[in-house]
């Protein structure tokens, strides 16, 4: 028998089923994912609207960097990240750390309680928070009044609107990191804790010297994921404050939606999308890099 080196053609024929299996998914991926991403880059250099589609170079970008509304929305996204991400990380780690020591049925009850808001979704959550924040008849001012405080217009006051939005996002999204951290903590070998306990370590020491270091890859994963999510925040803003008062809660996700689908400026919106995407990629790269060096 003389064995011939297989030609590319013969391999392709032999492995044709691999391509048949890939074809439908790949086709959809290219049409609805790859091609749009490339087209976004192109559109960002045009003044694409329903009536115009001229190439205008970097004009969109120079325009954006002198546009007060855009700059505020861009700055707001960083404020959202700074307010929300540390709170999410801290509360989810603390809650998970207490829950992992509980009995399994207690764990599952509380896990369900914390995850339920995520299951019902941001729109449903907003349906009740819009009432809670109501200045006259809402729950929050009812509590404030009970303690002798003055009624606050939560969503119409520049000082309170963003923290109010953050509170809603926190109650909506905290379930996921809690579940992930619990799974991670339950995977840590109990012997690690036992030997440290014999050496006289307190619970706080165990948390900072064993749990956190062992869990580092998971923490980095959640941190990156949360930064990416918060940068894209929009539905709660859309439903609770509509970006106001005076643009103080406007997020990039919502601004892009408005620019494209309310104002019809697709080229400009694409440029905003490019800036947001680059920012997100930069920060996820930074958090990965920082975690490798630490």
């Amino acid at each position: 028998m003389n064995e011939k080196k297989p030609t590319l053609r013969s391999i392709l024929i032999k492995q044709r089923w691999a391509y048949y299996f890939l074809l439908p998914g790949l086709l959809l991926l290219v049409v609805f994912n790859v091609y749009p991403v490339m087209k976004t880059i192109y559109l960002s250099f045009t003044n694409y609207t329903l009536t115009t589609k001229d190439f205008i170079g970097l004009a969109n970008f120079t325009k954006l960097f002198s546009d007060q509304k855009f700059l505020q929305a861009y700055a707001n996204c960083f404020k959202y990240v700074l307010l929300l991400v540390p709170a999410i990380m801290m509360f989810s780690l603390l809650i998970a750390n207490v829950l992992v020591r509980a009995r399994p049925w207690i764990q599952s009850v509380f896990r369900g309680a914390f995850y339920l808001p995520t299951v019902v979704g941001g729109v449903v959550i907003a349906a009740v928070w819009i009432w809670i924040f109501h200045p006259l008849n809402g729950l929050l001012n009812y509590v404030v009044n009970a303690f002798g405080g003055e009624a606050i217009t939560w969503l119409a006051d520049v000082r309170y609107a963003m923290p109010a939005v953050c509170l809603v996002v926190l109650t909506w999204t905290l379930g996921t990191p809690i579940i992930i951290f619990m799974a991670g903590m339950l995977g840590i070998s109990p012997e690690l804790y036992e030997s440290a306990t014999i050496d006289g370590a307190t619970r706080t020491q165990l948390f900072f010297h064993i749990t956190i270091p062992v869990l580092k890859p998971v923490i980095v994963f959640v941190l990156t994921m949360e930064i990416i999510n918060v940068f894209q925040l929009w539905e709660v803003v859309y439903l609770l404050t509509n970006g106001g008062p005076s643009y103080s809660t406007m997020s990039m996700g919502f601004l892009i939606y408005n620019t494209a689908f309310v104002s019809g400026k697709y080229g400009l919106a694409a440029a905003q999308g490019v800036i947001l995407t680059l920012t997100i990629l930069l920060f996820s790269w930074l958090s990965l890099k920082a975690s490798k060096e630490a």
Binding site: L8, I11, L12, Q15, W17, A18, Y19, F21, L22, L28, L29, V31, F32, N33, V34, Y35, P36, V37, L43, I95, R111, G112, A113, Y115, L116, P117, V119, V120, G121, G122, V124, I125, A127, V128, I130, W131, H134, N137, L139, Y142, T171, G175, I179, I180, A183, G184, G187, R203, F221, Q232, L239, I256, Y257, A269, A270, Q272, G273, L276, T277, S284
Partner: protein, 290 residues
């Protein structure tokens, strides 16, 4: 000696106290998380128009008026529910099928170009939706799929994360079983449907749950594509009720928005209670090994 024992006893007591404080913190936090959902349920059973909307721990005059008002209103709530269920179900079935097919090929086949095609999948996984949103809309518009369920479904079914996940699971399928089936003369499609798919059933359930939850919770894309009121999903319809409640309409009616919220939440909450195990598994996938 005695002193040492006393000290450790004191330590234990302190530890028990701190455990108590920690549990109190957890219970308060959980109550805080459930509080909005509780008030939504209560609020849906009472009139909450204008000054009648002050907080009540239990509805003083419970009524189904909001639900009847919603059903008898000009809003086609039944159609919204149909849209949500139809879109989520079709998206889930197709996404699971595509993910399995691609995951299987990436895990078990070697062929020219595999590395590059897989890299393409991974790269698209890392991009936020704003990176493709506008051209995606223009493409869907050109295809004539605005105001069509397919305009919502098609862009969601080739989901890079799902493909990546199924590849991980498919790698655990023993090669011997596939080879044995080949020797027995089974065709590629038969091997896929009768050997590979049954072996990854639990993973399929997990992926299906994540996909359903994701598609059910989607909002922005549905809002962009479904313009006709009778095609809206629960989320889009509810968002209009909320914006009406927050000042868009002349009469502010929170009860209506809360009843809408309860109706929107019911199917997904039931699904969650029935398949909690798969939900939890789905959340931890990718983050925690094992």
């Amino acid at each position: 000696m005695q002193k040492m024992e006393l000290l450790s006893l004191k330590g234990k007591r302190a530890e028990r106290l701190s455990t108590g404080v920690q549990y109190l913190f957890i219970i308060l936090a959980a109550l805080f998380f459930l509080m909005p959902l509780y008030f939504m349920l209560i609020g849906s059973f009472r009139e909450m128009i204008g000054a009648m909307a002050t907080p009540q721990l239990l509805p003083k005059n419970p009524t189904l008026k909001n639900y009847f008002d919603l059903i008898n209103s000009s809003f086609p709530v039944g159609k919204w529910m149909f849209s949500s269920i139809f879109i989520s179900t079709v998206t889930t079935v197709l996404a699971v099928l595509i993910s399995c097919m691609m995951g299987y090929v990436f895990a078990k086949k070697s062929f020219p170009g595999k590395k590059w095609i897989f890299l393409l999948v991974i790269t698209t996984m890392m991009l936020p939706k704003q990176a493709s949103l506008i051209p995606l809309f223009l493409t869907v518009k050109e295809l004539g799929l605005v105001n069509s369920y397919w305009g919502v479904i098609l862009p969601m079914i080739s989901w890079p994360y799902g493909i990546f996940m199924m590849r991980q699971f498919m790698q655990e399928v023993p090669n011997e079983l596939i080879e044995y089936a080949q020797v027995e003369g089974a065709g590629e499609i038969r091997i896929f449907t009768h050997v590979v798919m049954p072996l990854v059933k639990p993973s399929i359930a997990t992926l299906a749950i994540i996909m359903f939850l994701q598609s059910w919770g989607d909002f922005m894309w549905q809002l962009i594509i479904l313009k006709r009121q009778d095609m809206w999903t629960m989320n889009v319809g509810l968002s209009v009720l909320i914006r009406n409640a927050s000042g868009g309409a002349s009469i502010i009616n929170y009860g209506l928005a809360m009843a809408g919220g309860c109706i929107a939440a019911l199917p997904i909450v039931m699904l969650f209670l029935a398949f909690q195990k798969y939900f939890i598994k789905g959340v931890t996938l990718g983050a925690v090994k094992g």
